[in-house]
Amino acid sequence: MQSGTDRDLDLLDALRAGDDDAFMELVERYQAMMLRIAAMFVPSRAVAEEVVQETWLGVLQGIDRFEGRSSFRTWLFRILVNIAKTRGQRERRSVPFSSLLPGDPEESAVDPDRFQPATGDLPGHWVTFPAHWEQAPEERLLAGETRGVVEGAIEGLPPAQATVIRLRDVLGWSSQEVCNALDISETNQRVLLHRARSKVRRALERYLTEEMVET
């Protein structure tokens, strides 16, 4: 199978030659993620859609200048983020960039009550161990309902955390690509990913624990 980035380059060649289908395939591939990212910077869904529209026009206008030094998607998302930031400022609803960053330094990956207090026998060690999920059958882990739990947990995350986990773990981007596309540091990217994954794990644990008790 062709990798996503190789396919992008073929599509770009076709697009330069004016191929409608190639353009639509690129749109299909990136539109949903572009909308989510644009929505982090502007006040409404309608404005986010305009930002995405404007980004594609920017892509068409700039395509002859794209030399393939970065991947197409990195280039695409840089254009998107620039337009979205400018638009956010113009709408006077610019999201302060700090609100996209990790925030509360005290936010913990696991409920602190899961660990023994300083007065315990082994302070900072598990009160009860997490379960081994290999005992949950594979079909259950990959069932639609389990995936629904994961999707729901991601929906409930702060926007920056949701975006990073989607790019990294749903779409399989590298950390470098995510940093470039969102214009954030490696450290911030990793903290956002850590918080996001930790919360999704908690949601899964809650769901699978109920499941295993029932069966």
Binding site: M24, Q31, V110, W133, L141, V150, R166, R190, L204
Partner: protein, 82 residues
């Protein structure tokens, strides 16, 4: 030289992402692995994180509404005729 302090479970869960990303600097990575070797709870926890990543990887992005793509297609066609 003193031996580095042992990692607690509570500390370990905050380092999992750095560990999985290969970003944990050397003395910490050794402490992390030494702890895993003796702690079944943390071993299960790291497995749970790996499973979480795997299940998340089976999700797909939503489809785009038709009208938005139609508008883009007409923008593309006028670009072609420039």
């Amino acid at each position: 030289m003193t031996a580095p302090a042992e990692l607690t479970c509570k500390e370990l869960v905050e380092l999992v992402t750095e560990f999985l990303e290969g970003y944990l600097p050397e003395p910490d990575r050794e402490r992390f692995e030494a702890h895993l070797a003796i702690c079944d709870g943390c071993t299960a926890y790291v497995e749970q994180m790996r499973t979480t990543i795997r299940v998340t990887g089976t999700l797909t992005e939503e489809q785009v509404p038709q009208e938005a793509t139609d508008r883009l297609l007409s923008a593309f066609r006028s670009w072609k005729d420039r």
